[in-house]
């Protein structure tokens, strides 16, 4: 890595969140925060957002319309067949397949979206800043150039709660 980074390493969630909020008040944002489990204060505080739930809604909408459309087309236009005197366009009995297949479509498409957006995919090499961030350490990463102006105060807040590595 060509850039220089400062790592603030914390032992638990509480100290991490405290330091994060103090820094945020000062207007300093970490480049990234690594935690062993999701910490909601961080997820809400970081300048990131996700539209994955909206995407899932639209996948569902289009999948449901598409599947219902296909069933109607196949059963009543392409090759209509009599099944025990039922109407060709037997809408009520299409509902079941539409629901289940829509759920399948939402799941798979949302998974692919997640994989693409969070860049989590087979064969990816992890860029690890701190070996224990998936075990028991909470790590904040700062870009050294980005915090040049108030690096002293950042460092003091970090050392107050955790340590710098």
């Amino acid at each position: 890595m060509s850039k220089k980074y400062i790592l603030g390493v914390f032992d638990d969630e509480a100290t991490l969140v405290d330091a994060f909020e103090k820094l945020k008040d000062k207007g300093v944002m970490p480049v990234e925060v690594y935690t062993p489990y999701p910490v909601h204060e961080i997820l809400e505080g970081m300048p990131i957002k996700t539209r994955i739930t909206h995407a899932a809604f639209f996948y569902g909408l289009f999948a449901a319309l598409g599947i219902l459309g296909f069933l109607t087309y196949a059963a009543s236009i392409s090759w209509p067949l009599h099944y025990g005197g039922k109407p060709f366009n037997a809408f009520p009995s299409f509902i079941v397949v539409t629901i289940v297949a829509t759920i399948l479509a939402i799941t798979l498409l949302t998974l692919f979206t997640f994989s693409a957006r969070a860049k989590i995919f087979p064969g990816k090499k992890a860029e690890i800043f701190h070996e224990q961030a998936t075990d028991d350490k909470f790590v904040m990463v700062f870009d050294e150039a980005g915090i040049a102006n108030d690096s002293e105060s950042v460092k003091s807040i970090l050392t107050e709660h955790g340590k710098i590595e």
């Binding site: 638990d12 509480a14 100290t15 969140v17 405290d18 990234e32 925060v33 690594y34 935690t35 062993p36 489990y37 999701p38 910490v39 961080i42 997820l43 970081m46 990131i48 957002k49 994955i52 739930t53 899932a56 569902g60 196949a74 059963a75 392409s78 067949l81 099944y83 039922k86 037997a90 009995s93 079941v96 629901i99 289940v100 759920i103 399948l104 939402i106 799941t107 798979l108 949302t110 998974l111 997640f114 957006r117 969070a118 860049k119 989590i120 995919f121 087979p122 064969g123 990816k124 090499k125 992890a126 860029e127 690890i128 800043f129 070996e131 224990q132 961030a133 998936t134 075990d135 028991d136």
Partner: protein, 461 residues
């Protein structure tokens, strides 16, 4: 906010985060114990016998089974419904307890989901081979073909079933896998050996635990959890329509969908108990799967058992109340006192009576009794499916078509084979996969701390 006064602590032993990772990953990093190889050998033996029986089924045909023209659905459909039922607990555990904000689920959901994936896979084999010509199974896909294109019958519950099971298998497997990605990353970062680092590193998909990943991960869990809840209810409802849409006495009832869904969750939770008590016994996970966890599952089982009892009584009552000659015969003559009365009463006792022992605290805290009852429930649920499938088919409207049924060794071997496959799957799970969701467990660990682990009094629940 988790109210610890009700259920006590979630994790015993006041563990640090790294201690949690270490304890749960211990079986993966340790040497494989001897009993593991022995158990694996036994399950592979069972699996092999099952393969042999499948070979006979495919090479000779369904004639090697005990099914006949009247009782055309024998053990294959019984076992299919039984396995699917067991497979329901994983998703039910993850989703319903998630919706109900039950934090104790974190210790158990991974095992329950693993069980789901293996059980649904076992289940899917039965209808596949029951087709008779399984090499033509792809005819059931609605794909543009040279036969018309002749589409499949979208009105048929058997087609709904096919869609439901393949969707359920894919969805529960991906839900389970993505839940494990952060834990695989933990193994990658704590493992000493290079091979383990590489293998688990591959399966971790480059996970680092950054806030960008967690944010989307939470979004993903939210979406998958929300829609999988619908799936839990719909899949077994669809399985029940295989029966309820027909016009057979004892099957053609509107109670079937809820009755099947509840029954599925019942047998699934019982299998979860069997599994987690085994985990506690073999791997000393008592600090994570505490007595209180087992206690909570037992309490749920009392409740579901009461619903099961009510459902059985309702069926019998409605058979009388409907004043239908056939329904009355089916229940009062055939099921209660007919040739298969033993299976009926075994089902009733095992599902509606014996689980009532869980009312007693003395029973709930003795693990070996809980273990035995959990097995009894699974046997009882098997008899329930036998009772539904065989009693109805063996005595239909035409006395000339009445026939009894008993399985051949091929059918039994097929079932034993899936049991072996399930056991082998569970053993592999114990050995190579973190059997408790580490990252989820860490996220609830703070609720055990005196001041909630927070510097400020703040809650985000």
């Amino acid at each position: 906010m988790y109210n610890s006064a009700v259920r006590g602590k979630l994790i015993d032993g006041d563990k640090s985060f790294s201690q949690i990772s270490k304890d749960i990953l211990a079986p993966i990093h340790a040497k494989t114990p001897l009993w593991w190889y022995a158990a694996m050998l036994v399950s592979l033996g069972m699996f092999g016998f099952g393969l042999y029986c499948k070979y006979i089924t495919v090479s000779t045909g369904i004639g090697t089974w005990g099914v006949n023209n009247s009782v055309a659905w024998g053990w294959a459909i019984i076992n299919f419904v039984w396995w699917i039922g067991i497979g329901h607990a994983g998703t039910a555990f993850s989703i319903f307890l998630l919706i109900l904000r039950q934090k104790w689920r974190t210790a158990i959901n991974r095992a329950a989901e693993a069980m789901t994936v293996v059980a649904v896979f076992c289940a899917s084999l039965f209808p596949l081979l029951h087709m008779g010509r399984p090499w033509l199974f792809f005819f059931i896909f609605p794909y543009p073909n040279t036969r018309g294109p002749l589409w499949v019958n979208f009105n048929s519950p058997l087609f709904w079933d096919f869609v439901a099971i393949s969707a359920y298998l894919l969805i529960s497997a991906s839900f389970w896998y993505f839940g494990m990605v952060p834990d695989f990353a933990t193994i990658r970062d704590t493992a000493k050996s290079k091979i383990k680092k590489a293998v688990y590193g591959f399966f971790a998909f480059g996970w680092t635990g950054s806030s960008r990943e967690w944010l989307r991960f939470e979004g993903l869990s939210f979406v998958l959890g929300g829609i999988a809840a619908v799936l839990v209810v719909s899949v077994h409802s669809i399985v029940s329509t295989d029966f309820a849409v027909s016009v057979q006495a004892g099957w053609h009832t509107t109670i079937f969908p809820p009755y099947f869904v509840i029954g599925a969750i019942f047998s699934g939770f019982a299998m979860v108990l069997t599994l987690v008590i085994t985990m506690r016994g073999l791997y000393k996970m008592n600090d994570f799967i505490t007595d209180r966890h087992v206690d909570a599952v037992c309490r749920i089982l009392i409740f579901i058992s009461l619903i099961m009892g009510t459902a059985y009584m309702t069926e019998i009552f409605i058979a009388w109340y409907s004043a239908s000659e056939y329904e009355t015969y089916m229940f009062f003559k055939n099921r209660l006192f007919g040739d298969y009365a033993f299976q009926f009463w075994a089902m009733f006792t095992a599902n509606a009576v014996i689980p009532q022992l869980f009312w007693f605290k003395a029973v709930r805290k003795r693990m070996w009794i809980v273990f035995i009852i959990s097995i009894i429930i699974n046997i009882g649920m098997w008899f329930e499916r036998f009772n539904i499938v065989v009693t109805t088919l063996s005595r239909d409207y035409l006395p000339a078509a009445w026939a009894n049924y008993s399985p051949t060794y091929v059918e039994i071997g097929f079932f034993v084979g899936t049991l072996g496959m399930f056991l082998a799957g569970v053993l592999l799970f114990f050995r190579y996969i973190p059997m408790i969701a580490i990252s989820e467990l860490k996220s609830v660990a703070k609720f055990d701390k005196p001041n909630n682990g927070q510097l400020k009094a703040k809650s985000h629940e």
